[in-house]
Symmetry: C2
Subunit: 416 residues, 2 copies
């Protein structure tokens, strides 16, 4: 008997029929002798409907009140899903974040979970009851309703799995797992049966938006086995097949001995790069440039500063294309103040990255990557590396080509 | 400075525009120096939408889960209304039933309020904040979400007013007060400026559905001044005018010295009467007949048993027309068992009632009522009286005529 936390996204519970399917799926896992905790999102479209209502009242809604309104989406789903389970003869009971007591901080609309009381859930599980817990929401120390922000239901599920020391946290979604790259660009892209948390973090932040990055971080930190799997398979799929479907996100060291060198090719469209040239090489320069950018709430992705020549260096960073104009005007103001020479920018770039834990112990990955791109005549404009990732900035027109040739060069279409 | 609880029904908060109007109205009372607690219902149609969703999942929804789903309607409104108040510069803060702590029993879908914590509300009021409290909902001792059943928002408002010892509980609705009778039948029907709780109870239960009967009972018991007034007047109506509009439901003895003899003519359509004839006059007969009726969940209205003649009596009662067939078949089974002679019924009757506290000290009301009906050739089939009410059952075809002639005979179209 295993203890499993199952999370179902908004599309999976988007209609009465789909809620019934979710109930069938949960019933199947219960019937196989597992203890199950279910965490559904709001029905697809419901959160947006509520946010739109709020914005009609207040263009910038009061955050505390916005959470009161937004949290009702999940509250409706937990009640309906508990009913659907009851209708199938499965004992079930719904809980809001406040009822479980999912304690969060008071950062309305983007709270973080501080602690989860497990008494009620444990009692239910021992009594054979399936607790149906509202994702995305909690309560702060003063009893105010809070939400975790977009995608927070994934985080709720992982946090519950960590608290209850669940054997697995299953995230049902409308994709059937994590791929070596985007199948729309490379049709031979292959589903990964396993991937490490670190790789998943790099893949997620680089554009493979299967799971919310925060929930992956949380799962890695809490050592929760996480499985992404499809809610589009038949609800009565034999449990043996479902149990090994999707992609398992593992703890690298103990579960992933036969890790392949490279797991996938990730990419970010819609990037823009800004370079400040002739920057005097002295302490505080990076902060002088990026401080005002951060103050303007512009997220910075890559940051590159090369070794200085004759006391001057070039300083580059990338931002989302939507923030390009804003960032440029800030940097243009800063440039004379710090005695730099000029600012140049390009908002037609993209980033292509190779990700893989195996990279650590295999030399030559970078050189193979650069050679592959060079053979296609793709100029690399910027390079940045981490322990398990190499990213190259190239002109956006090469994005698809770069991803395809790298996927082939590293034989990612071959089984793991 | 007064402390006022203001309740707004579903139509009054049925759109973003109307929620803004409610906020303007509340802001006006605040600006005049009053402390205000607001209790809104769910947006019109929302509760029905949620119940329909639940019934699609489970034809007889699990009551605990139904309350989880249904309570979200009011939760959305409190958040939106608190935002609308904030937008007008009025400090406001929303509370669910659980957050206030409106403690109820555990009778899901029809709970009763046991106690209300006033600490948070008091603190807010003293800090100049308008608490916006979700009507219709509470929480039981185990932390389960409960609802008070249809119309429960009125009860929530009255209970809050009682707990906080508010100066007045104002129920804003889409009528502008309580009338001497239904204006659709008698165009000269006049709005009552005041009415006693007892009269209101008789009027409400007899068909003038302005307020939920439970909330009126509660207000009377808790000695809360209750005012029914219109949410359709301009939100910027001068506060002096709004404060004396509608109908004030008063404590008879201390506020209503100049009480008129009769307050109004109430009526019930869609009644049916059942008479058991030749009933042996012995103890336990009434229970033998009505016990099985109650067991079948049929509500009984009038019950009449006349003095017996030669050891036998006739026993009559009225039920809603929808329950007529069910009640008849039950009574037909009971009749031979108790040695009664026969059962006769009529499902084409209605009930017309004169209501007035003044009736107590004025003889001759009944005789004037009967004479008025006789002069129009209206046969009275059954009569029942209480201290402040006389009801007559007549053939349903006479309903409008009876109400009109009685309204005129008692000069109800003249000012109080």
């Amino acid at each position: 008997m295993a203890l499993i936390v199952q999370k179902f996204g908004g599309t999976s519970v988007g209609s009465v029929e789909r809620i019934r399917n979710v109930a069938m799926r949960v019933a199947k896992w219960r019937a196989a002798g597992n203890q199950v905790v279910v965490v559904p999102s709001a029905m697809a479209g419901e959160t947006n409907r509520l946010l739109a209502l709020a914005r009609e009242i207040q263009p910038n809604p009061n955050p505390r009140e916005l959470d009161v309104v937004a949290s009702t989406g999940e509250q409706v789903t937990i009640g309906l899903l508990a009913m659907a389970l009851t209708e199938l003869g499965v004992k079930a009971r719904s809980y809001t974040g406040a009822q479980v007591r999912v304690l969060t901080d008071s950062a309305f609309t983007k709270s973080r979970i501080v602690a989860i009381d497990q008494d009620r859930l444990r009692a239910d599980l021992e009594a054979g009851i399936v607790p149906v817990v509202a994702g995305f929401q909690g309560i702060d120390a003063e009893g105010n309703i809070t939400t975790l922000g977009r995608g927070g239901s994934d985080t709720s599920a992982v946090a519950l799995a960590a608290t209850l020391k669940a054997d697995e946290c299953q995230i049902y979604t409308d994709v059937d797992g994590v791929y070596t790259t985007d199948p729309r660009i490379v049709p031979e892209a292959r589903r990964l049966k396993t991937i490490t948390f670190e790789e998943m973090l790099e893949m997620a932040s680089l554009g493979s938006k299967v799971l919310q990055i925060r929930s992956v971080e949380f799962a890695g930190k809490s050592r929760v086995r996480l499985r992404v799997l499809s809610s589009l398979t038949p609800p009565d799929l034999p449990i043996d097949e479902e149990a090994v479907s999707g992609t398992l996100i593992t703890f690298e060291e103990d579960e992933n001995m036969e890790q392949a060198t490279i797991s996938g090719v990730a990419f970010n469209r819609d990037e823009a790069k800004i370079t400040v040239t002739g920057v005097p090489d002295r302490p505080g320069i990076a902060y002088a440039i990026l401080g005002p950018i951060a103050d303007a709430n512009v997220d910075v992705d890559m940051i590159i500063q090369n070794a200085s020549v004759a006391g001057f260096t070039d300083f580059s960073f990338t931002v989302h294309r939507n923030d390009y104009d804003k960032a440029m005007s800030i940097v243009r103001k800063v440039t004379p103040e710090i005695g730099a020479k000029d600012v140049v920018g390009d908002n037609r770039i993209c980033k292509v990255s190779m990700v893989g834990v195996g990279m650590r112990s295999h030399v030559g990955i970078a050189s193979q990557m650069f050679r592959t791109l060079a053979e296609e005549g793709i100029n690399i404009e910027m390079i940045s590396t981490s322990e398990i990732k190499i990213s190259a900035v190239v002109n956006e027109k090469y994005l698809e080509l770069a991803v395809r040739v790298l996927h082939r060069a590293f034989s990612l279409d071959q089984p793991q």
